[in-house]
């Protein structure tokens, strides 16, 4: 092999390695379990769905709830939606209920988004009071996993590795 080709290959592999490391780091999950709030009872709320009817969190007691605070224009939020749709499809029969809490200013952009992404779980319009009740939703996305007794098990802040969500959901759902 010619030395020029050898050096070019070495350079490209080095650049790809650096770029790959940077990219993975950028997308690394910024997630974790809250200390004080873990196992706290999830604050109840009653909020309007996209069709105008009301949804109460407490009506889902007995199910494992994944509560996702998101917005249509939030890039990491958008990336998570297809995965949530898959999870709802896969684990719905075992008792998983995903609920989206949109932090958009109005339901107008949320309705077409809901159709476009073929969302298969309810979405409600969030309020500042709801955000504050959950410790302050001052960054998106934030997802809370709530067990069948209505207690917060984990809180994931920022873009989270889908595998982490799935592992947590499987754990909380228990043995099929």
């Amino acid at each position: 092999m010619r030395p020029q080709v050898k050096w070019a290959l070495a350079l490209i592999i080095a650049v790809a390695a650096i770029v790959g490391f940077y990219s993975l780091r950028r997308h690394a999950p910024v997630s974790g379990t809250t200390g004080a709030r873990a196992k706290a009872v999830a604050p109840d709320f009653t909020l309007p769905k996209l069709d105008g009817t009301q949804l109460s969190l407490s009506s889902y007691r007995g199910k494992v709830v994944l509560l996702d605070f998101w917005a249509t224009w939030c890039v990491p939020c958008r990336e998570e939606i297809p995965r949530f749709v898959e999870m709802q499809q896969k684990y719905g029969d075992r008792g998983l209920q995903i609920i989206g809490v949109s932090m958009d200013d109005s339901p107008d952009p949320v309705r077409p988004f809901y159709q476009q992404f073929r969302m298969n779980y309810p979405v409600v319009m969030g309020t500042a009071a709801t955000g504050e009740a959950y410790g302050g939703v001052l960054g998106l996305p934030i997802a809370f996993l709530i067990d069948r007794d209505g207690r917060i098990v984990t809180r994931h802040m920022g873009a989270t590795d889908p595998a982490v969500f799935e592992t947590d959901v499987q754990k909380v759902l228990g043995t099929p």
Binding site: K6, A8, L9, P76, D105, G139
Partner: protein, 173 residues
């Protein structure tokens, strides 16, 4: 280490270094280069606000506390629900600048503002590299001729990088 790497390449590729393999190598090199450029370009897009147009939370706090006679206009260009929970005192909510409605609101707000006015934009909805609102807001103001616009550098989100650091915060509409 490079010599070892070179030997490994030789062992891997010299035995059958035919014209066909060289052709494959060239194609692979081209594809690898294109991939590397694509990833670098995508990263640059997300972080394309120059540092000269950024202001850190520490510097903004210092500036606000300095009692300057010419305080900046502060515009939150993200989410109203986030704004209502916590925002920088005196800042105004103008809508998500990644949406046409948000940009319209921003343009209307500055219609009668001096082009030399110091303006600070902030969002904090998402990590800096993923925020969709700050760059469009900055571009809109610069294209209107504003010359003294800074974007607040929020590494992760407004909660972590402003509220939890104890910087001045207000609640409400």
């Amino acid at each position: 280490m490079l010599r070892g790497f070179g030997n490994w390449l030789d062992e891997t590729f010299t035995t059958e270094d035919t014209e066909l393999h060289r052709g494959h190598m060239r194609t692979s090199l081209l594809l690898l280069s294109l991939f590397a450029f694509a990833v670098i370009f995508a990263g640059a897009q997300a972080t394309s606000i120059p540092t000269s147009s950024q202001i850190t939370p520490e510097d903004l706090v210092k500036h606000l506390k300095s009692g300057t006679s010419d305080p900046p206009l502060l515009f939150q260009v993200g989410s109203h629900v986030l704004y209502a929970q916590a925002h920088i005192p005196r800042s105004e909510y103008l809508g998500a600048a990644s949406t046409p409605a948000g940009l319209d609101q921003l343009r209307k707000r500055v219609a009668s503002v001096s082009k030399k006015q110091f303006i600070v934009l902030y969002c904090g909805c998402c990590p800096w590299t993923r925020c969709p609102n700050e760059k469009p807001a900055l571009d809109a103001l610069q294209s209107l001729g504003f010359t003294n616009v800074k974007v607040l550098y929020i590494a992760d989100n407004f909660g972590t990088d402003w509220v939890q650091k104890g910087y001045p915060t207000e609640k409400g509409e």
